[in-house]
Amino acid sequence: MNEILKWIVIVYTIIIFVYFLVVNSFYISLIFLSWNRLKTFVKIAKSDNTIFSGYTKPVSLLVPAYNESETIIDNIYSLLDLDYPEFEVVIVNDGSKDETLKKIIDHFDLRSVNLELNTSIPCEKIKNIYSSFDYPDLILVDKENGGKADALNAGINVSRYPLFCAVDADSIIEKDALFRLVKPFLKYSDTVAVGGIVRIANGCEIEGGIVNKAGIPKKFIEKFQIVEYLRAFLTSRVGWQKINALLIISGAFGLFSKKAVVSVGGYRKTIGEDMELTVRMHEYFRRKKIDYRIDFASDAVCWTQAPDELKGLKSQRVRWHRGLADSLFKHKKMLLNPKYGAIGMLAMPYYFFVELLGPIIEMMGYMVLVIAFFIGTTSITMLYIFLMAYLFGIFFSFSGIFFEEIAYQRYNRIKDVLSLFGIALLEQFVYRQLTVFWRVSAFFNYKKGSKNWGAIKRKAFKDRSS
């Protein structure tokens, strides 16, 4: 028995070594792509003469809301206060069970209107539409509960403008972020979607719906997420954009061409509707051989509340992983299919073998390590491989922090930057294993997941700066 276990440990050690080499080559290539793209992007952004030109395109901001009574009023004010010439804010109340609807109606003195609907995408029944003479750019849609995707589809149907921006109700968009996000649409006629960068608002100084100063929160659970977000956005998405293979435009902040989204049938009721839509757009435009561009504006910032409790974090990560699995399985025909170019041959395999299956392989690695320890076959090779994996993890996090410092410098104090490095070292213990465990359990139960709203407890932004 011991011999068989020893043999399993050796074989798995080799498998994990090869897997790490392949995966990390992927990561390193992505980091180089991101570095290359980021350098050019920053150069362009810094010397852009057109940034505050009067020429823009009108935008409909779609805010799906479900039980958001705590933050919704602040959020609407911060959106209405955006520095952008022509936009409307469409709040879609997706059958909230709390006071969300009443609070908005009372606060903004809204009245019911008979709006002629251009129902281009099917959605659950719209019960009522409200607008205000005092806030002509604010529209409130009250509909039957159908989930976030359905709420966004309702918003698309009600919206007036050719571009729409999906915004999470618990997020704060920086004042000039729309100007930055819309730029690719003003430059390239084939742009169909642009993603913005999502940063964590926890620990920041927030006043009147505006982030005055970026900061590091006190709780470790929040700190870890800052490093995670920097890594995900700056060393991954920027790189994928460079080869027009960005598979995720975050649901918290993305700008879309309404025509393009309607042509692919709008959002689908899935767990990760944001990723599914982006993947479907790639599939549609590549299949039809239509030129298109899915861009990423890493200087367009949206601040979001990160969960500050394990329960909320677990729920979020399980949802994300289920969404990832769902989107990839739904579009599996693109996987390793050369007809889909960089999407089929690079992005899909990466997301499938690295992001989706990676946690399972990593989990098995931990299990093999434990088994090896108990049967006394823990080899030095195995420990070295784990050390190598740990250092690789740190390398990706450090790269994210470095890119942030080179390109954007949101964290002004050296103390904050040092703190981020420290967090990147610690993140590899417990936190990483915990998220791996959640992702593995999400993978095996992905079909059981609800397609409705996630249940992260929101807090009003004014309570968040401490």
Partner: protein, 366 residues
């Protein structure tokens, strides 16, 4: 085999250690460097400010300290001082940059490599001397260089030949049409020059761009110009885009004569796109809330095309008492369900109805 594995792993571990430590040091170094740079920038700016102040007052003893010296930080400081601190007028600022050798210096630098930052600096200086270099940028293979050069050029003073060359370059470029319109508009030429360009232009895109640019300027144009633009509308050989641009340009004159031209054209127009543009353009004629205008807008509410009806309804909502009365009439008395529903929707939901009602109330109070 295991030995090989150990060796490879060890090498990777050492490499990763070195790389991680290097990234850490580089990040901290970059942070410190930026702090130091900001401090040095502030100091340098404080030193140059009084010297520039003296120079602007005609004291040129320390002129050499202000002269261009290829240092990017000094150029940035000088731009900031002249444009923001002293807030000099565009012409005066260009003159200073030229006399201190900045424009020539940057042009010389650009012969090696026309970078985005050089384009931005030339754009800030707005000197006519920058024209050849930026025009060269418009012929670059790099779209960003083309785009930024084109935008920078739109703020430069130019002679007619240069304007023609520039507009020609814009029309040939891949820059999106609305941005091209903005750039041509930035030239701030008088209507006659735009009109000359329009007449010389043969491409549809060029004509549309120039007609759109003329929108805000045609009221100051001559009758000959307006007559020619009327030809663009009535001649069905021109493309729809040109004809629609002509509708908007004529409406921008706000003259009764051209309101009549548009109304006449509406009556005989077969293209719904042009009819919809005419309906929308009726909003421009604010001086004339005449019954005749409201009558024709009412007629438009029964047009076979939805967008014509919609635009007409929106304009009626903004036409004060007569317009609202017309919408109420259609909403209550019309047997045409589509028109009645649209009128009701506009009365119910459109903020301009509220604006009209408020202005009627104010008129009554007065």
């Amino acid at each position: 085999m295991e030995n090989n594995l150990i060796w490879i792993t060890l090498i990777v571990i050492y490499l990763l250690l070195i790389v991680n430590i290097s990234i850490f040091i580089a990040t901290i170094f970059s942070k410190l460097k930026k702090k130091f740079y900001r401090y040095r920038y502030k100091n340098k700016k404080e030193k140059l400010k009084p010297i520039l102040n003296d120079y602007l007052k005609g004291k040129t003893e320390n002129e050499t300290v202000l002269m261009y010296d290829e240092k990017a930080s000094k150029t940035a400081i000088m731009i900031s001082l002249i444009k923001e601190d002293f807030n000099l007028q565009e012409e005066k600022a260009s003159e200073i940059f030229e006399s201190l050798g900045y424009v020539k210096g940057l042009i010389k630098e650009s012969h090696g490599n026309l970078s985005l930052s050089l384009i931005q600096e030339l754009s800030e200086m707005k000197s006519a001397e920058g024209f050849p270099v930026l025009m060269k940028g418009m012929k670059s293979k790099n779209f960003e260089i083309i785009y930024q050069s084109a935008y920078a050029l739109s703020f430069l003073p130019m002679n007619f030949t240069q304007i023609k060359e520039y507009v020609d370059g814009l029309i040939k470029s891949n820059i999106l049409r609305d941005r091209v319109i903005e750039m041509v508009n930035n030239l701030s030429l008088n209507p006659e020059i735009y009109f000359l360009l329009l007449q010389a232009e043969e491409r549809t895109l060029g004509k549309v761009v120039l007609l759109r640019v003329l929108e805000d300027k045609l009221s100051k144009g001559t009758d000959v110009m307006k007559k020619k633009i009327t030809d663009y509308l009535v001649n069905v050989d021109y493309s729809l885009e040109i004809r629609i641009a002509a509708v908007v340009a004529l409406a921008s004159t706000q003259e009764k004569k051209y309101q009549d031209v548009l109304m006449k054209q509406y009556a005989i127009e077969s293209a719904w796109e042009v009819r919809a543009a005419i309906a929308k353009a009726m909003h421009q004629f604010t001086q004339e809330h005449s019954e005749m205008q409201v009558d024709i807008l009412k007629r438009m509410m029964y047009d076979e095309n939805y967008w014509v009806r919609f635009n007409a309804g929106e304009v009626l909502a903004r036409k004060g008492f007569l317009g609202i009365d017309a919408l109420i009439d259609i909403s209550i008395n019309s047997e045409n369900k589509e028109a009645a529903d649209l009128a009701f929707y506009i009365l119910d939901a459109h903020e301009s109805v509220n604006e009209s009602i408020n202005s009627i109330k104010e008129e009554k109070n007065e």
